[in-house]
């Protein structure tokens, strides 16, 4: 019997999607091994969140009423105390910015092995974790030769559990050691509220690292103009300061759902794909036939953007 403790995530009053995916991953794991699935909700509207998380496969929801928003010092203490109380075999956490802000500290403090960014989990007596390496070019399997572990799961890799269930809801009381809270969240800010909203565009021409130089952005802008489309980009273009942050598509940028998404010189890193996979039609132009963008593209051109884009502009002039 192996119990699983999954730590849900919320922000600004809403549960994040990964919370519901953690339920699926956790239920799959206890399905392999037997045992109970425990969820934890820490901070915020714990009662409301517990109601939303009363889902099929969940045995018990533990609510910790401490603070409104995520604070990693609180989360580390709460999860550590919960772990010691419940003695689960596995702790599951979302591989999100906040997940990666406390999961490693929990694992280190409890002296547990940590595997991050899991895209697959299997347990036939031993936990096997599938993950990606080298910018998704290689997949690997890691065997966890320990009784217990902390694993973070990649958002979007498991379906969200939606079916209702009837878990027990229990308030978990613990005494927070205030002297160990050495960081304070003072606010949030939306970034990139410029005059263009790429999330509203019907047609996006999006440019990535393949454009090589800042002055070449003009070529892709010309294409966007010819197609009456809006220009967007992947992260490296914004990091280089070649386009403003409000043009960035991806996990940390905007999520877009245009009718047509034309990816020019974009390899398709998982963080980028997270922001655009909902596009109705995805078209990719890239020199590398194995680029991950082609895995989700509807139409593909394996070719040099510097040859193809001028020809395409000509087609529309």
């Amino acid at each position: 019997m192996s119990d699983v403790l999954a730590i849900t995530e919320h922000r600004r009053g809403e549960l994040r999607d990964v919370s519901f995916e953690l339920v699926t991953a956790g239920a799959d794991l206890v399905g392999d091994t037997g045992g109970d699935l425990h969820l934890a909700v820490i901070g915020g509207d714990t009662d409301g969140f517990a109601e939303e998380l009363s889902l099929d496969g969940v045995d018990t929801i533990h609510t910790v009423t401490e603070g409104d928003e995520f604070n990693h010092d609180v989360y580390v203490q709460a999860v550590t105390e919960l772990y010691e109380e419940l003695d689960p075999t596995y702790v599951l956490i979302g591989n999100t910015v906040n997940g990666l802000d406390y999961a490693p500290a929990v694992a280190e403090g409890l002296d547990l092995p940590l595997v991050t960014d899991a895209v697959g989990l299997q347990n036939d007596g031993t936990l096997e974790v599938t993950r990606e390496m080298y910018a998704s070019k290689v997949e690997s399997t890691i065997e966890v030769n320990a009784d217990r572990a902390v694993v973070t799961i990649r958002p979007g890799e498991w379906d969200a559990t939606e079916a209702a269930g009837e878990p027990a809801v229990e308030v978990f009381d613990f005494t927070l050691d205030e002297s160990r809270v050495r960081s304070r969240v003072t606010g949030f800010e939306e970034v990139g509220s410029g005059d263009v909203d790429i999330s509203e565009a019907d047609v996006l021409v999006s440019v990535g690292r393949g454009i090589e130089e800042e002055e070449n952005i003009e070529l892709v802008q010309d294409l966007a103009d010819a197609l009456d489309a809006t220009l967007s980009s992947s992260r490296p273009i914004v990091d280089n300061g070649w386009l403003p942050k409000d043009r960035q598509v991806g996990q940390s940028g905007k999520v877009v759902t245009p009718k047509v998404y034309l990816a020019v010189g974009i390899s398709g890193a998982v963080q980028h794909v997270a922001g655009m996979k909902g596009a109705e039609n995805i078209i990719a132009i890239n020199t590398d036939p194995d680029a991950p963008i082609f895995d989700i593209a509807d139409y593909g051109i394996v070719g040099d953007l510097f040859d193809v884009v001028p020809e395409l502009i000509e087609q529309f002039e």
């Binding site: 922000r11 990693h72 999100t96 910015v97 990666l100 802000d101 406390y102 490693p104 500290a105 694992a107 280190e108 092995p113 940590l114 595997v115 991050t116 960014d117 993950r131 990606e132 390496m133 080298y134 910018a135 998704s136 070019k137 290689v138 997949e139 690997s140 399997t141 890691i142 065997e143 966890v144 320990a146 960081s183 969240v185 949030f188 800010e189 939306e190 970034v191 197609l227 009456d228 489309a229 990091d239 940390s252 940028g253 905007k254 009718k259 039609n281 078209i283 990719a284 590398d288 194995d290 082609f294 895995d295 139409y299 593909g300 051109i301 070719g303 040099d304 020809e311 087609q315 529309f316």
Partner: protein, 264 residues
Amino acid sequence: MKVLVTVKEVAEVEEDFQLDGLRVAEQYLDYDLNEWDEYAVEAAVQIAEENDDVEVVSATIGPERSEETIRMALAKGVDRAIRVWDDALEDVDLLDVGAKTRLLSAVVEEEEPDLVLTGVQANDDSFGATGVSLASAIDFEWAAVVNDLDLDIDGAVANVRRELEGGVEELTEVDLPAVLTIQTGINEPRYASLRGIRQAQSKEIKPMALSDLGLDGAALESDLVLTDMYEPETESEATYFEGGAGEQAAELATVLREKGVGAQ
């Protein structure tokens, strides 16, 4: 004040490659300074430039080959470097977060920095966890995925922005000493100047074996075993346009027009 910045030499895999057991065959790998660490180095060097009496020391776990990468960091303004390596590391397929934490904790104990900067992740194994794990082990405060840093040395606080998902940033005050994991885009990493490259040649890269750090092979023990490595199956269902650039563009134009693009 002393800033320790972790610098990793990462392997990048060429477009076409072959696996050799649990590794990518050596001839398909190119080595470079980890992209995230480049921004961490720049952040550290900027702190040294903006404040008096700041020493920037880099720490790398890597074989002798990685000295080339370390020199790049030295050329950009890092004052001196530490390179941790040991024969015992040669045959380790997977140096997990716990093992890296033990090695870097020993370096911290040796150097006693006031601030540690790391990249958010390494783009080869992408664990994204060493910085926060290290902070926990050395009892420093921390912040992960920092894309803006305003250091108040006198007040012993780092005011940071953390880049959350969906275009939201969190503003947080972090007590020093701290470990900050640095996100790309926080600054513009400088190119090494010719003068910097010349100066880097005379800067110290101190090799340290496990025994120099008061450790033995037990520090490398891990419960995680790499058991398989393979190329993911391609799942592409895309319709590809063949021919020269002109033909490809013409076919794509037809499809785009069918979708109503450029109809005006």
